[in-house]
């Protein structure tokens, strides 16, 4: 189980680094349209405006935000798994049956 977790973490980190390195989070000059040629549209009249963070501050902020979101997701999934174990155990032991009031407002 632990090995699976470690392997998943490594894969996740690899995916992150791949995404960051190959991403187009460049800093486009917001004043002018960026001239980019996409393989299927190579007409010189095509001006495609790319989007992304404006400066290093925004880029760092976004990456920290994403990092916090993923950390929270893993932590919350861990807590939720504990809750699932708890509620499944309660269900097996018949806590939720025999017509009792089922509101989840305890103590």
């Amino acid at each position: 189980m632990r090995v699976k977790g470690v392997i998943l973490c490594i894969l996740f980190l690899l995916l992150c680094s791949f995404l960051i390195s190959s991403s187009n989070i460049t800093m486009p000059d917001p004043q002018t349209a960026k001239m980019e040629s996409i393989p299927s549209q190579e007409s010189e009249t095509d001006i495609i405006i790319s989007s992304g963070p404006k400066d290093i501050k925004e880029k760092t902020g976004i990456l920290f935000f994403l990092g916090w979101v993923w950390l929270s997701i893993f932590v919350l999934i861990y807590f939720l798994r504990q809750k699932i174990k708890e509620t499944d155990r309660l269900y097996q032991s018949g806590y939720y049956s025999d017509g009792k009031d089922k509101i989840c407002l305890e103590e």
Binding site: S23, N24, I47, I49, G52, L76, K102, I103, C104, L105
Partner: protein, 352 residues
């Protein structure tokens, strides 16, 4: 916390709803995983609503200003590019999940009696979702979206008698103009959401009424499957799926934001390499492969008839598959895989 709860309970009566939710059980078997697709669609629909509310603060739905307002959202409005990217990717995720949900119901035959209306309302919801995507695609008003809309709104013209009127209805005139943009905007933010809510309410009500379907063999054997209470056991499991999907959505939206083309020129020739969104690619390819004329009919008309025929078969599937465990039922299951293969092949072909 008890007093405000009791005040609210006396006036609203949430206990009845909660006791329904805790008594509702989800059957547990090897196909239970497909039960998560429905609520995942709802998650993305809510994300679309929230990001849509935010985008509508800055988007200007007129011919002159649409493209410029999207550019402003991307460049000037703080984190506008993230919100637009999330909205764009969430649309794709939602439609992908709608298709997965649909295929799982088809293959598992969850539409059998008495759930035929659930299926039919679901097919309408599929059409509404696709129309959401189609109307939303035009709103940035760039070359690509204009061309895609011209093609897309021209397709109904091939239907005899009503075709011309269908096209005029969609376009707000004979041609795609600023009126088309206004009309599509109205569909996207007002008309379709109302229909979506009504259909969704109907669909969800029917699911609660009939309960979650079990695999057919199970229902026939009349053995009691293990059931999991919806609240709180199943909801916790769904929450895990939702969290993971939100993480994936945010990551992809931040690293792969959509671009914006130059403002559409109504008089310019179509740009090279135009294509619709990925979920229309198979239809796009189908139209391409039909020859210009077959017997007395134009290729277009036949293609449209073919598509409409498929849609009708789709809609009436529960009535067609009225003997699910027999030969006909097996053929219907096989047809699901054939359809999936057909769509995959056509989609890949269109990209080559």
């Amino acid at each position: 916390m008890k007093k405000p709860y009791e005040w609210f309970e006396e006036r609203f009566g949430i206990t009845a709803i909660m006791s329904f939710l805790t008594n509702k059980t989800i059957p547990q078997h090897k196909h239970t995983v497909w039960y998560y697709t429905g609520s995942a669609i709802l998650l993305f629909f809510v994300i679309q609503m929230i990001t849509g509310f935010m985008l509508i603060f800055y988007y200007k739905p007129t011919l002159e200003l649409a493209n410029a307002s999207v550019l402003r959202i991307m460049n000037d409005v703080p984190l506008g590019w993230v919100i637009r990217s999330v909205h764009s990717w969430s649309a794709s995720f939602m439609i992908a999940l709608v298709i997965i949900h649909l295929m799982s119901i088809w293959i598992l035959k969850s539409y059998t009696r008495p759930r035929e209306l659930t299926w039919m309302s679901g097919v309408f919801l599929l059409f509404v979702s696709l129309f959401f995507g189609f109307t939303g695609y035009l709103l940035p008003w760039d070359d690509l979206s204009l061309s895609a809309t011209k093609v897309g709104t021209d397709i109904p013209r091939s239907i005899p008698i009503i075709g011309k009127w269908a096209t005029i209805f969609l376009r707000g005139g004979e041609d795609v103009t600023g009126d088309t943009l206004t009309r599509f905007f109205g569909f996207h933010v007002c008309i379709l959401p109302v229909f979506a809510f009504l259909l969704l309410a109907f669909h969800v009500y029917l699911i609660q009424k009939h309960g979650i379907s079990e695999p057919l063999k199970q229902e026939n054997q009349k053995t009691k499957l293990k059931g999991l209470p919806f609240w709180p056991n199943f909801i916790f499991r769904e929450s895990i799926i939702w969290l993971f999907l939100i993480g994936v959505l945010l990551t992809i939206a931040i690293f792969l934001p959509p671009h914006l083309g130059h403002q559409a020129d109504l008089m310019a020739p179509a740009p090279e390499g135009i294509k619709p969104e990925w979920y229309f690619l198979f239809l796009f390819q189908l139209l391409k492969i039909f020859p210009a004329k077959i017997l007395f009919f134009t290729g277009d008309t036949l293609a449209v008839f073919f598509i409409m025929g498929l849609a009708a078969l789709f809609f009436f599937l529960p009535l067609i598959d009225n003997k699910p465990l027999e030969q006909k039922g097996k053929a219907v299951t096989v047809s699901a895989y054939v359809f999936l293969l057909f769509v995959a092949i056509m989609t890949v072909w269109s990209l080559l």
